[in-house]
Every structure is written in C-alpha cells, then in structure tokens.
C-alpha cells in the first residue's frame, strides 16, 4: 500500500532500447509507418519508391536519434515518476522531429528558415503533430505492457505467498500434538478439535477467492482461536467486541484469521504469562474497521509476521483497488493491526 519510490530500472516502463532486439523492432515498425505514409501520399505521377525513400530516411532519422537518446537517458529518466518520465521522453521525440524538420528546410529545400511562411510553418506543425500522436501512443503502449506484466507476477506470487502463509506447519503439528494428548484425556474435546482443524483446512485449501460475509470469516477465526486456546490454556485471553451491523459485510476469506494468528504467534506465545488479544469490528463512515491488538513481547521474534501482513495487504489492494487499507500501529507495549474495507453487502 505504500508508494514504491525506489523502483529498479527493471520496473521502468521504457524498454531498454540499447538492446539489439528492441532496436530491430523499432526500425521495423518505423519502416511500416513510412510505407503507410507513402501509401497515403502516393499519386500515380510520382515514383512510389522515391517517396518511400524520403519518408524512410526522415522518419528513421527521427526515431533512431530519439531511441538513441532514450537509451542513454533511460537511467536518468527512471528517477522520475511515470508521468514525468513519459512527458520527458515525448519531449525528446518532439525535439528531434523539430530539429529534422528544420534540417529538411535548410538542407533539402535549401531555403532560409522563415516561420512566417505558412508553407514552412504548416510543414513543421504537421510533423510535430504526427510525431506527438504516434510517440504518445507508443509510450502509452509500453506503459500498459509493463503494468500487465507486473500484474501477472503479482498475482502468481500472491497465490504462492497465500498458500505458504495459510498453512503454517508449526500450527498444524502443534494442533496435532494437542489432539493426540486430548484423545487420552478428553475425547469430546479431541473430537471437536479435529472438526475445527478440518474446517480450517478446508477454507485454506479452497482456492475460490469469492467474498464471504464477515460472520463467516469470524466463525473460521474462532475455530482457529479455540485450537490455540486448547494449546495455550489460560495464557490466551480473547476480548471481542463485534458490531452486529458488521456481520453481513462482505470481506475476502482468510483476511481476519491470519491477523489473529500473528497476534497469537508473535504476541502471546513469547510471553510466559500470556496476554490478551483484543478483536474489534465496527462500521465507521461507510467502512468496516476490524482491528486486532496484542501485547508486544520484548523477545524479538518477528519471523514471518511481515509475510502474512503484506499478503493480506496485496490481496486487499487487488480486490478493492486501493480503497481498502491495512494499518499497523505500534507502541512499546502494544501492537495493533487495523483492516479497513469499504462496506459491500
């Protein structure tokens, strides 16, 4: 959810024009443009080839000089945000268009530059217009292509992270150990623990990412908590205050449970005396606010807390397009995560 300011040249939308492959493609596309222009301009009196030659030389000149500069300036351009870098790149293209238009006037027509001459002005203006339209469209295409690639990698890695974050081996084996113990002591409890664990794993393995009512996510989270309660006994105290209105709000599955798992794993478990986990859900200004807070242990054991959080945050980003958020507030003694999502019923 934070802005990515330090992008590597790899996330920059301009392709690396220094590479032979991109250079070849650019030359090819430029030549196609030249053919296109020639086709429009060609009348039967003139030779097709000589018009094509003139178009080719002039358009190729502008493109080659532009991409040479873009190649050299790519690193510098990548320091700007995408908008600015795009505008600067476009200016570079327009600069070369202007330069070559003037050169054509001076060296090919052998005329002094005279901007009051409507023919010359018209020539320059037309060139600039055409090159700005084509330039802008091309840059936009590069930008969209990068977004698309980024989206693809994000989706794949999010899926993988989700799977890893959901199945915490520690939780599975500890729960199994608890159940093994309960079978000897309290068979009924063992039975319900197995049911809870099965339900949790069913949700975990369910790949459908459809939204579920908050009520349902809360039920899953409670199954998780009851398993942890068996394990930690009185060391784990849960305080919950849930606004009834919130129960019907739709949220992504497994958005609350990992927050509670973090609270137990990093907050309660490292404390010899245990502690309290506060779970609150309210509706405020058209948004559902779910917050989980836990005491912070002095033992540094933040192994993996970040993975679950960034995973939820990425999923929220994808689903709500920036309208949801995940905030972490930390004091010396308390750690609180608040998830805010727009209310959809």
């Amino acid at each position: 959810m934070e802005a990515k300011n330090n992008k590597t040249p790899h996330d920059f939308f301009l392709p690396d024009f220094c590479q032979a492959q991109s250079l070849f493609l650019v030359v090819l596309v430029t030549e196609l443009l030249a053919v296109l222009f020639t086709a429009f301009d060609w009348s039967s009196q003139a030779s097709f080839w000589s018009i094509l030659a003139i178009y080719s030389v002039s358009i190729q000149m502008v493109t080659l000089f532009s991409i040479a500069s873009l190649c050299l300036l790519r690193n510098w351009l990548s320091n700007f945000d995408d908008w600015m870098a795009g505008l600067l790149s476009l200016s570079i293209i327009l600069f070369f268009t202007l330069l070559f238009s003037l050169m054509v006037i001076v060296f090919y027509w052998i005329l002094p530059i005279d901007l009051t001459d409507s023919f010359q002005l018209n020539f320059i203006f037309r060139n600039i217009l055409v090159s700005s339209l084509i330039g802008a469209a091309t840059l936009r295409y590069f930008y969209l292509q990068l977004q698309y690639r980024k989206q693809l990698t994000l989706q794949t890695s999010a899926k993988l992270d989700a799977l890893q974050a959901r199945i915490r081996p520690h939780f599975l084996f500890n729960s199994m150990n608890v159940i093994a113990s309960l079978t000897q002591i309290d068979a009924d409890k063992a039975e319900s623990a197995i049911e809870d664990l099965s339900d949790l794993f069913r949700v975990t393995l369910d790949n459908a990412q459809e939204m579920i009512p908050f009520q349902q996510e809360l039920d899953n989270a409670k199954k998780y908590l009851s398993l942890e309660q068996l394990r930690l006994g009185e060391r784990l105290v849960i305080n919950e205050s849930i606004d009834k209105q919130s129960l019907s709000v739709l949220i992504p599955p497994l958005s609350l449970q990992p927050l509670l798992e973090n609270a137990v794993y990093h907050g309660i478990q490292p404390l010899p005396e245990g502690g309290e986990v506060d779970l609150k859900a309210i509706i405020e200004n058209g948004k559902l606010l779910v917050s989980v807070s836990n005491p912070k242990s002095t033992q540094k054991d933040h192994h993996g807390a970040g993975i679950a959080l960034s995973n939820i945050s990425e999923r929220l980003d994808m689903l709500y397009k920036g309208k949801a958020s995940l905030q972490v507030e930390e004091t010396d003694k308390q750690y609180q995560v608040t998830m805010k999502v727009p209310v959809t019923v």
Binding site: P169, H170, L172, F173, N174, M176, N177, V178, I179, A180, S181, L182, Q184, I185, L230, R231, L232, G233, Q269, P270, L271, P272, S297, Q299, K300, H303
Partner: protein
C-alpha cells in the same frame, strides 16, 4: 531413571507424561513450564534425561540446554519440537537427539534409552547455526542469561542486569545489579555474543551501554567511565577512547 519434561503447553506436557507413565525403567517424572524452571530443577534434583521443547517463552530450550550442560553431572537432553526448520537442521548436522511432536511412544522410549549427554562442541555448533539462520537485530543477540558456578551449583544472571564484565588475572568477573561473581566465559567470547548491548572500553573491561552515564578525565589525562546504578569508575584505555566518546555523543 528420572525424567524432566519441559514444555510451555500443558497438554504437550501431559501427553509426554502419559506416554512415559507405563515405562518400566522410569522411576519419576518431573515437569517444568519454561527453560528457567528447568535449569533450576536440574540443579536441585538428580535428573537423568530432559525432554526439552525448543520454542518456549522467557528462556527457550536451546539456551536452557546450554545452562544445564554446565552442571557437574549434566543430564542427557532430548529436544522436542513440532516444527523448527532451523533447529532441526542444526540437530541433524551435530547428531543431537531430537523428537518430532506428536511423539510416537516407540521413538520416545528408544530415544531415552539411547540418550547421551550433549557436549560443548554440539552446543556451540547449534548456537552458531541458530545465530546465522535467524535474522535478529543486534540488541537481542546471544543468551539471555549467563551461567556462573557458586560452590558447585550453577546460578543464572540475567544479561539485562549485567553492568560490566571485568577480566582479572585468570577469571572474568561479572558485576551485576545484585552483586559480583566469577564466570568461565572469556571477554572476547562475551564481546562477540553481546555485541550491540555492550562496549569494550579497555583490554580488560566490557561495559553495558545502557548503564553508562558519562565519563570523567582526571588531571593526569586518564579517562574513566561512570554508571548510574553502581558507584564505581572504570578506566577507559586510550585505544578505546574514541569509540566510547562516539557512543556517548549518540546517547
């Protein structure tokens, strides 16, 4: 055979107790809910085998095992864990006994019968592997307690209470909030282990940063450091003076 079961989870303790209950050779089972308590029990009672959970609040199983191993007649230690990729790696490499939870009865019994004492080399190897594997910040590296022997018994001093370590002739003295004792570690080892919390101010002195209040120069040009909690000054050697000054400036 007397067995100590160490685990912070009541049901996990009960399970091991249950599994051990019917075994012939076992005469008594004692339980502890954390590492600190386990160290105490191993001092007060003759324990043969310790079944030690790794991940526990307060003092974890690995640190507790390190302290217990310093006893005159240390018990054998078998680690138990549900899942701990880093520790398991170290155990396999160093041939340390361990069991995976939920533990099978047959595995448990054969592990107890085959149990042997942890040696210093195994412990040291595990400790370094743990340090490398876990990305921890400087302030929390190392043990949480230091072991000292008082008339044959081991005693634990919380590292947070230590004001300074001073090397005097053969031994290193620890000055802590409740007194002063001699320990077996060397200053060099301590400096590496607790880097971040302590600073070397002299060839013979390692000082807790948080207790330092300031420094003083006498008219012969010697520099001394003073502490908020105890009324004693330690000399700063010329070689370490600039780093100490740097620290004081940043405080």
């Amino acid at each position: 055979m007397k067995i100590l079961v160490v685990d912070d989870e009541p049901l996990a303790r009960q399970r091991l107790e249950g599994l051990l209950a019917g075994v012939d050779q076992i005469s008594a089972i004692v339980t502890a809910e954390n590492g600190l308590r386990a160290v105490e029990i191993c001092q007060d009672q003759e324990i043969d085998v310790v079944l030690m959970d790794i991940r526990m609040p307060g003092m974890d199983g690995l640190e507790a095992a390190g302290h217990i191993a310093k006893n005159k007649q240390p018990p054998a230690i078998i680690f138990t864990t549900a899942y701990d990729e880093y520790a398991l790696e170290a155990f396999k490499v160093n041939a340390v006994n361990y069991l995976l939870k939920p533990v099978r009865k047959t595995d448990l019994i054969s592990a107890i019968q085959a149990s042997s004492k942890l040696n210093k080399a195994q412990l040291a190897a595990i400790a370094t592997q743990q340090q490398e594997a876990k990305p921890s910040d400087d302030d929390h590296k190392g043990r949480k307690h230091i072991t000292t022997k008082i008339s044959g018994n081991i005693k634990l001093i919380p590292v947070v209470d230590v004001v300074y370590f001073l090397a005097e002739q053969k031994y290193v003295t620890v000055r802590h909030l409740n007194g002063e004792t001699i320990i077996e570690d060397t200053l060099k080892e301590l400096q590496v282990e607790f880097e971040g919390q302590f600073i070397r101010i002299h060839r013979n002195a390692l000082v807790a940063k948080k207790f330092i209040t300031g420094m003083r120069r006498d008219n012969q040009g010697h520099a001394y450091i003073n502490f908020e909690v105890i009324n004693k000054e330690l000399e700063i050697s010329r070689r370490h003076l600039s780093t100490v000054k740097q620290l004081l400036l940043n405080m």
